[in-house]
């Protein structure tokens, strides 16, 4: 396991799932860099565990749907990086848990599955974050119209097209997405159709599709290039585009082919902010 977690398991003494939660946490700490937070002791002496929780990403392991460990984390105002619920994992992997508290064949099999799952998820995240996340930091200006708030990133590396799509250009790559103006107008986004990896996209060509209850729109690429990565999370959770169309809801990354020409037809923050405000006024007229 690559991450060094603070691990908060539940303490379920009346169910097998609680015993599995505990055993999973213990096995994770056989990697000496992970640290366990005892949920019972945490209620008595929080200073020690507050420090551990502050220094490491937090992994919460709940035994069942009561989610005692999650609730303790909420109570202590901790940010949860990852969550596992043992009864849900058992359901997903079709493992029947017995009603006694001993860890037998099924229970140990489930623990192995969970540990293997954690290891492979970490390896996948590490290899993709090497290629992507690195430098996309957004600074925003906001504009309020009635009860709606519109954020527009003002970084000089970000460019906008007339279709309210943005491109964050770093070196020979651009990460692209739609703006708050688009996601607010669409309302709840229900489906996302990504572009193909490897597809060659022209400037103002289509690079995916998003659909809400109100309408379907093609995403119009601000730049020309080859699609090298897509935001796969959006396939299951397209609502992330509503939640944050810049940091969580980015659409794809392109290797640029002709940005010097593309730039001539794009605008920066100052101009786009005014264009957006005018569009909002026109919508209400």
């Amino acid at each position: 396991m690559i991450e060094n977690y603070a691990i908060l398991p539940c303490n379920g003494l009346d169910k097998c799932a609680g015993a599995i939660s505990r055993e999973t946490a213990i096995k994770l700490c056989e990697n000496a860099k992970n640290e366990i937070i005892c949920p019972v002791f945490y209620r008595v002496a929080e200073a020690k565990y507050n420090k551990i929780a502050g220094e490491h990403p937090l992994l919460v392991i709940d035994g069942c749907q009561t989610r005692c460990a999650s609730k303790l984390a909420t109570e202590k105002n901790l940010k949860v990086s990852k969550k596992i619920t043992i009864t849900e994992e058992a359901k997903i992997h079709n493992i029947e848990l017995k009603s006694n508290l001993r860890l037998l064949k099924n229970e140990n099999a489930l623990i192995e599955i969970i540990l293997n799952g954690l290891n492979s998820a970490e390896e996948k995240a590490a290899s993709s974050s090497d290629k992507t996340n690195a430098s996309y930091n957004f600074e925003y200006e906001t504009y309020q119209k009635d009860k709606f708030l519109f954020r527009v990133p003002k970084n000089p590396e970000i460019y906008f097209n007339e279709n309210d799509c943005w491109a964050y250009v770093i070196g020979n790559r651009a990460r692209i997405g739609v703006t708050d103006f688009v996601q607010q107008n669409l309302s709840d986004i229900l489906y996302f159709t990504p572009p193909e990896i490897g597809a060659e996209i022209e400037q103002f060509g289509e690079v995916g599709e998003i659909e809400s209850s109100k309408s379907v729109i093609d995403i119009i690429s601000p730049v020309s290039g080859k699609v090298v990565s897509i935001n796969e999370t959006l396939i299951e959770k397209p609502e992330l585009i509503n939640e944050n169309p810049y940091e969580l809801g980015w659409i794809a990354e392109l290797e640029l082919t002709d940005f010097d020409s593309d730039k001539e037809l794009l605008v920066g923050f100052d101009k786009y902010f005014e264009i957006m405000k005018k569009k909002l006024e026109d919508l209400n007229a």
């Binding site: 749907q65 909420t74 309302s187 709840d188």
Partner: protein, 134 residues
């Protein structure tokens, strides 16, 4: 003595999904599972009156939210309800691609199909809660 599971929908006055959340929750507590479940007004929860706090705090709750803002789940947790399950209307809506469901005021036939599916999911969850003796 077994206590009723609280099924609390969001208010979603602006969207059809809010109306679906409401109708699914009310169908559950009034028609499908009246002995084992009841609802509590989300608006009343916000007042923090002692009477509503006594109704929710520490009790098993299933929330039904119409959009990612998750108002029901957040407000019920805030006042101390044990949110055993957070139902999301959009999860079921996504299984009905291409259909129209009505408006935030009235539902079409397809809207009620989704309401019925969500209500069935809620009933299943109530039975799980009672079976697990949570």
């Amino acid at each position: 003595m077994h206590k009723k599971v609280k099924v609390i929908p969001c208010s979603g006055i602006g969207k059809v999904y809010g109306l679906m959340a409401r109708e699914a929750a009310l169908k559950t507590v009034h028609e499908l599972c009246p002995e084992k479940s009841e609802t509590v007004c989300l608006a009343y929860i916000m007042t923090e009156d002692e009477a509503v706090r006594n109704k929710i705090e520490g009790f098993n709750c299933i929330t039904v939210d119409g959009c990612p803002k998750m108002c029901a789940s957040k407000n019920v947790s805030w006042i101390g309800g044990r949110v055993i399950d957070e139902m999301k209307v959009l999860d079921t809506v996504k299984e009905h691609k291409g259909k129209k469901f009505g408006s935030a005021t009235t539902l079409d036939a397809d809207g009620y199909v989704v309401v019925d599916e969500i209500a069935d999911k809620i009933v299943k969850k109530i039975k799980d809660i009672i079976k697990e003796k949570l």
